[in-house]
């Protein structure tokens, strides 16, 4: 039989590290049904057997307020793992025992991993594992998850317990006379009625009724409304009594007694300290500088700015390699395939489309590495702490900063992992507001658009413009969040009761996993959605082709042009090899013919499905100064913002231009009479705020749990962006730009 072992524990107890140490590469990441909580599973050998290990979400308690807690509790109660391993931080034992007590009250077969004994030791603490084991009547195994020390022993103890389940009687704590009496009464009612029998032990169910746990009460009401109501009545009676006599509710009473129980255990000499407990740990000393009221914000800005610098400096070369590779691929395909529809589809549709996105992979990867470093060292929690006051003013939470930063708060992220990063927020309202506004940040795909327009119209102020654009994105996102939180997602803010984990040196494996998981989401997007969209775009920009008579007209024009030059020039051009030196005459002829080709391409595009859509939108978009060609680009940009530049360059018939090779396109735009700095500004604003890209929209639907919100983000953002763009264009025009 394969034993199932669940890993439980507080956040930052080293659970994931332990899970990795136990399972190695044999793991699988999925999701719990219906919620966005990750479910990690893996296999581990114990002697001749294999154990199935499940990494539960990190929780401080099982009170079931957050999704994580609900998932963990539901899993423990319903899927009944053979053994639960609870990971404890030995350097912070007292707090970690709160979860232990709750697990013991549920009556689960438990093994405690007393982790981070090295950290405890370095802080001058020694935890007596045997004594702890004796007092809790539960096996305790000291471990150092980082090095794998103790993991064999741990898994062996767990496997033994799974093989020979001892009759585990749930831990019974006294909650004071009033509650204890009520518990007994409720317990016998529950046992008699076999109430919620498959789930939990009777005393535990009774405790949950006293705690007025909505989840359990709803379950109880569904199976036996009568009994459930009787239990609720008892619970209400106790609550009224406690309120009258002690001015307390049962829930706090129960929590206080649990903590009392934990203190009584600690006081029996479980921890030996060779240091004064008020002593400042290294982590606190670092905090005195990094979160200092004056130095803190300055250092934070410096770190974020430094990250930005390093990422762009180091990713430049790899970005070039990847682009070079796609360039080579594109040339090779062009050489292998005969000219025509198929070649055009493969080269312009597939390779350039996907290549444009893939080119950003190194940049995105460096960005995520930087963010992973901030996260794994514990610095990001400090950023949330320092910025919470600002975010709170806009109806968000300090932890929202993470989603914003990943989405491109420091220009160059990606909204897909950014929206997912909003998971760390516990309150649904703040989470929703965060994930709806995070796509306003300047992701790596919007950057080429800005770079193009800045190069064309504001070449003297590049750095300033980029800085302004970043600032504008933040302002837009925060203001939008405030509006949302004051209107359709109104509600109380979540408590900021948050742990500041001690600073730690990140592990290579931790960084690699964090970086790769997010980068992979971005690559997947390029491989699937962008591929499909590129082909679709190619189709609507190619079909329907020009009617015969139009094509013939251009052919006639070409002949006219050729006829106006001497015969010798035409001959020379027809016979010349590629790259051969041409006479002035022949060169002029080639230029003239290319001009006709370009006119034909423009006419074809105007006639294509995309051109017609763009033209139809012109009557509205002219208010923001966008012509039909810009409209095509923006419609394409809904698929993926990367498409905006490449579609513009096609529309200006420069052939397929790589998103990064915007030089020539920017010169064209600068010279074009339908463009002006006003249009450029309006387009920058519109690109920044309009509908998130398709993949992000799918992601929003998943994370928000409904397509309604995904549709909302498309409509709301586009409308807001359009209003802003019109405002900017009209203002700038008035001012004479």
């Amino acid at each position: 039989m394969q034993a199932t072992i669940a890993l439980a524990g507080n956040p930052n107890s080293g659970k994931t590290t332990l899970f990795n140490a136990l399972t190695g590469a044999r793991q699988h990441v999925g999701n719990y049904p219906g919620v966005t909580v990750e479910r990690k599973e893996g296999l581990c050998s114990v002697g001749a057997h294999t154990a199935h290990i499940v990494d539960l979400p990190g929780t401080y308690s099982l009170t079931a307020y957050s999704e994580e807690e609900k998932v963990a509790r539901e899993y423990l109660a319903q899927e009944r793992p053979d053994v639960v391993i609870d990971t404890l931080d030995a350097s912070n034992l007292e707090r970690h025992l709160y979860l232990v007590v709750q697990l013991l009250e549920m009556g689960l077969p438990l093994v405690l991993a007393l982790n981070m004994v090295d950290v405890a030791k370095s802080r001058g603490m020694e935890v007596d594992a045997e004594k702890l084991s004796e007092l809790l009547r539960t096996p305790v195994v000291p471990t150092i998850a980082r090095t794998g020390k103790g993991k064999q022993d741990l898994i062996q103890r767990a496997a033994d317990l799974a093989q020979q389940p001892v009759n585990q009687t749930p831990l019974v704590i006294s909650y004071g006379a009033d509650i204890d009496k009520a518990l007994l009464e409720m317990q016998s009612l529950i046992s008699e009625g076999a109430f919620l029998k498959n789930y939990y032990n009777p005393r535990w169910v009774a405790i949950k009724y006293l705690e007025m746990d909505e989840d359990i009460i709803a379950k109880g009401r569904a199976v036996n409304p009568d009994l459930s109501d009787r239990l609720t009545a008892i619970s209400a009676r106790v609550a009224a009594h406690l309120e009258a006599t002690l001015n307390m509710d049962p829930e706090s009473m129960i929590a206080d007694h649990r903590w009392g129980f934990i203190r009584s255990i600690i006081q029996q000499g479980v921890i030996t300290r060779s240091n004064d407990s008020d002593r400042l740990y290294l982590s606190d000393k670092i905090d005195m500088v990094l979160t200092n009221r004056f130095a803190g914000p300055i250092i934070m800005l410096a770190i974020l700015y430094g990250l930005y610098q390093v990422v762009f400096a180091y990713s430049a070369a790899p970005v070039e390699w990847v682009e070079g590779m796609f360039g080579w691929l594109s040339d090779t395909a062009a050489a292998l395939l005969p000219p025509g529809m198929l070649q055009s589809l493969v080269v312009s549709g597939v390779i350039d489309g996907v290549g444009g996105v893939m080119g950003f992979v190194p940049l995105i990867m460096f960005m995520f590495l930087g963010i992973a470093i901030m996260e794994d060292t514990g610095y990001l929690a400090r950023v949330a702490y320092m910025l919470d006051r600002v975010f709170k003013a806009f109806g968000l939470h300090g932890s929202s900063v993470m989603a914003y930063v990943v989405s491109g708060g420091i220009a160059g992220g990606c909204a897909v992992p950014g929206v997912m990063a909003a998971r760390t927020l516990r309150s649904p309202k703040e989470r929703l507001a965060t994930l709806l506004t995070a796509p306003f940040m300047n992701c790596g795909a919007k950057l080429p658009v800005f770079a193009l327009l800045i190069a064309a119209f504001f070449p003297a102020n590049e750095a300033l413009m980029m800085f302004g654009i970043t600032l504008l994105a933040w302002m837009g996102a925060l203001v939008a969040a405030k509006i949302l939180r004051m209107t359709i997602i109104r509600g109380e803010s979540t408590p900021f009761v948050m742990e500041l984990p001690p600073y730690r040196v990140p592990t290579f494996r931790g960084l690699a996993t964090h970086t790769w998981e997010r980068t992979w989401q971005y690559i997947k997007k390029a491989g699937t959605v962008i591929l499909g969209i590129s082909i679709l775009l190619w189709v609507i920009m190619t079909f329907p082709g020009l009617p015969e008579n139009k094509t013939a007209e251009f052919e006639v024009m070409r002949q006219h042009v050729a006829a106006s030059y001497p015969e010798a020039a035409a001959q020379e051009l027809a016979n010349a090899d590629e790259g051969a030196e041409l006479s002035d005459q022949a060169q002029a002829l080639r230029g003239a013919l290319a001009a006709v080709d370009s006119q034909e391409a423009q006419a074809a595009l105007r006639n294509s499905a995309a051109g017609r859509i763009g033209g139809a939108l012109e009557s509205v978009t002219q208010w923001a100064g966008f012509d039909w060609r810009t409209n095509i680009a923006l419609v394409g940009g809904f698929a993926a913002k990367e498409v905006v530049v490449s579609a513009l360059s096609t529309a200006y018939s420069l052939g397929e231009t790589d998103p990064e090779e915007y030089q020539t396109l920017s010169q064209t735009l600068a010279k074009d009479s339908s463009w002006s700095p006003a249009v450029a500004l309006a387009l920058i604003v519109f690109t920044m705020f309009y509908a998130p890209c398709f993949v992000t929209v799918v992601c929003i639907a998943k994370e928000a749990g409904s397509w309604k919100w995904a549709a909302f983000s498309v409509i709301f953002n586009t409308a807001a962006a359009f209003i802003l763009a019109v405002g900017v264009y009209q203002m700038a025009t008035l001012l004479g730009y």
Binding site: W259, D284, P495, F496
Partner: protein, 77 residues
């Protein structure tokens, strides 16, 4: 010894929690982290805009907004 609200505690000031009046989600979160009567705490620092406040509770550091600290009374030495 006197009892004051956690919000008005000063930097580096220590004390023992006397009462926690919060209930509902906030109350649960506060108690889950071990902020219950009898717990010793010390104000570790405050964020640049004076809110939230960082507390040392036992062997770890916890942050809390000022309007949440209002629910906690502390016996300070």
């Amino acid at each position: 010894m006197r009892t004051i609200c956690l919000r008005s505690m000063e930097q580096k000031q220590g004390g023992t929690i006397k009462t926690v009046k919060a209930n509902g989600e906030l109350g649960r979160r506060i108690r889950d982290m071990g902020l219950v009567p009898g717990t010793r705490i010390k104000v570790q620092g405050r964020a640049p805009l004076y809110d939230p406040v960082a507390l040392r509770v036992g062997d770890f550091t916890l942050t809390l907004r000022n309007n949440e600290a209002d629910y906690i009374d502390v016996d300070v030495e």
